[in-house]
Amino acid sequence: MDVLLFELALTCYFAATMVSITELFKESKITMRITTALAGLGFALHTLTIIYRYGISGHIPIINPHEATSFFAWCVLFIFFLLQFRYKVNLLASFVMPIVFILMLSSSMLPREIKPLSPVLQSYWLEIHIVLAFLGNAAFALAFGIGVMYLVQEHYVKSKHLGGLFGRLPSLQSLDEINYKLITIGFPLLTLAIITGVFWAESAWGSYWNWDPREVWSLITWFIYAIILHARLVAGWRGKRAALLSIIGFLTILIAFFGIKLLKKGLHVFL
């Protein structure tokens, strides 16, 4: 059942990605609506998948890599819909749906069996810690997409060739402001995730900080976004620089997320 739902959601995301990419080449209100409808349907199916697995295992399904990646994709889409509801950023889907689809695709290739939860992981702290971390990272994923859009638009304006997507992409200032807003949402979430993680580590392993790779990378990520915020407020690092930094920041997150899985070391191995 959950496999079927998952595959259907994946199919919807694939279709939405394809349609959203055609949108880059040809403007059409119909394809825009189809993208939104497909993404919405995929999101609904995906939500059901997660609820279903929650029902079976009795905890939020973010314990094995398959579940974690899938849940991350869900979070990205969740923030995406919130953002579209508030700002209606033209062409955002074309820059975000591919990320969602790639996440879901990699999730689909990872082992899916539902494993019993080891006693060390049975804690509300854990669930809160993980959900906060994922939502924060999802906000950074959106900032990445917006950052790419900024660089594209900035290239048009700077080079004085106003073809292609120039007319349809939002203004530089609004992309910059949305990028900033996303980071101001993601950063406190990440901070809280680290704090809850620290407390949980103490209760589970008896020490607050163990320098395992995930902790180290999280700290690096946290510093990158702290620098982005600080530099913007103090030195006026906005526009192109802010866009570049938010792209670098998200790439760091991806390294932390997938890279560490490949290493399979440290206390976070289960994730």
């Binding site: 638009q153 048009y156 304006v157 700077k158 004085k160 060739h161 106003l162 073809g163 120039f166 007319g167 992409l169 939002p170 203004s171 530089l172 200032q173 609004s174 910059d176 402001e177 030195a235 006026g236 690092w237 906005r238 526009g239 192109k240 620089r241």
Partner: protein, 423 residues
């Protein structure tokens, strides 16, 4: 029942000729009334704008009618009849329909895609409607022309993208900033084009305008026009720290802002995006400024480049629009052909014949015991009834007369005969 267009536009006539032939102000109503009264004309519309004067008519004989329209024009405007001969174009039937559709869709305009012409055409039509100078043919032509223009507007990008330097500046400002009403614009120096650009920006939301000029009085005068604030010329660089859009057009032979100065300005404004427009020749803003982050510097050639590429885009869109026009001409001609009485009589009789056949078959099917004679009698009765009912409309259609076209349209509607496209 033929459409005739007699007129002239900017392409074939200079402004001296156009103004002589223009129907301006009260002359329009009078001209329209007299035009409609011409013996050869059944319906009439006059479109008179600064770029074109066109007379649309429903006529029977296009050659005779066009001659009498020319005579009317020369008498009405008191110009030599012979001088008109070469400065007018005359279209009839398909070419006339095509011309009207192209005019409405702004394909025949000086700036292809400019939106005013449709409104002017609507006004001309509304005047004709209120003076009751139109009938079935021109009403249909106008309605169709307006719907074609709307289709062109929605299905192509013909009216998008700026095609003048000052609009290009607005277009860019909109893609750099979110909300122009919260931005500050500064005019440095004065010049026609700079003022025009500033005016367009104000029309598009800019509220806060600063004006700097070497002569302070001039700055004061100009700032009043924009409801703005004058700035002393040697202070304008320090004002740049809180200015988002700068339009520069001084007569200075050297750069008035160097890259170094701009770098300091950017530091002061915490790297907030800034849009600089340098309309002056020789240039007033160091071109190296564009290398600075979050600074977008456009000089007059850059803006002209934007306009040129937009023009090129419009030309491509115009090709799409021409295809739409061609399609719509087809449907219009089909409708016009349907106004002819012969096919209508045929369609009417076919329809009646089919109804008769269906009913007879139904009845015979219900009463299987009937013999051949009874069947024949039933068929005879049905045919007689049908013929009697069909006779008056058929006769009326054959007879024709002045209102034949409306009669055809009416009969088609009453008897539900299709062939006319739905609006």
């Amino acid at each position: 029942m033929r459409i005739l267009v007699v007129g002239l536009n900017h392409k074939i006539a200079d402004v001296e000729v156009r103004e002589k032939l223009a129907f301006s102000g009260e002359k329009l109503e009078e001209g329209l009334a007299r035009f409609r009264e011409l013996a050869e004309i059944q319906e009439a519309i006059i479109l008179s704008t600064c770029n074109r004067v066109e007379l649309y008519a429903n006529v029977t004989d296009t050659t005779k009618a066009s001659e009498s329209v020319k005579t009317f024009l020369s008498e009405f405007h008191a110009i030599n009849r012979n001088s008109l001969e070469n400065s007018l174009y005359i279209y009839d039937d398909v070419t006339a329909v095509k011309h009207v559709f192209r005019v409405a869709s702004s394909l025949d305009s000086m700036v292809v895609g400019e939106p005013q012409i449709l409104g002017q055409l609507k006004d001309a039509y509304e005047l004709a409607l209120s003076k009751k100078t139109t009938g079935i043919l021109l009403n249909k032509l106008m309605k169709k022309a307006i719907s074609v223009a709307k289709r062109v507007r929605t299905e192509t990008h013909i009216a998008e993208n700026a095609v003048s330097i000052s609009f290009a500046a607005v277009e860019l400002a909109r893609k750099i900033f979110t909300d122009l009403s919260r931005k500050v614009c500064m005019l440095v120096g004065a010049g026609e084009m700079a003022e025009l650009a500033a005016r367009h920006l104000v029309n598009n939301g800019i509220q806060d305008v600063l004006v700097a000029n070497r002569t302070y009085e001039r700055a004061c005068d100009l700032s009043k026009e924009f409801n703005g604030r004058p700035v002393k010329f040697d202070e304008f660089i320090s004002e740049m720290a809180r200015t988002d859009i700068v339009i520069c057009s001084t007569g200075s032979p050297t750069y008035v802002v160097t890259k170094n100065q701009m770098q300091k300005v950017m530091k002061e404004r915490k790297q907030k995006q800034v849009f600089l427009i340098d309309i002056s020749v020789p240039r007033n803003l160091d071109p190296g400024i564009n290398e600075l982050e979050n600074v977008y510097l456009y000089n007059i050639d850059d803006l002209q480049g934007v306009v040129d590429s937009n023009m090129f885009e419009r030309q491509k869109e115009a090709e799409k629009a021409e295809r739409i026009v061609a399609e719509e001409i087809e449907t219009f001609l089909k409708w016009q052909a349907s106004l002819d009485s012969v096919p209508t009589i045929r369609a009417l009789r076919d329809k009646a014949e089919e109804m008769k056949r269906e009913e007879v078959e139904k009845l015979i099917h219900k009463l299987p015991s009937l013999g051949d004679r009874e069947k024949e009698a039933i068929e005879y009765m049905a045919a007689a009834l049908m013929n009697k009912l069909m006779h008056p409309p058929t006769a009326a259609l054959k007879e024709g007369g002045d209102d034949k076209a409306s009669l055809v349209a009416l009969i088609r509607r009453l008897y539900g005969i299709n062939g006319e496209d739905k609006e």
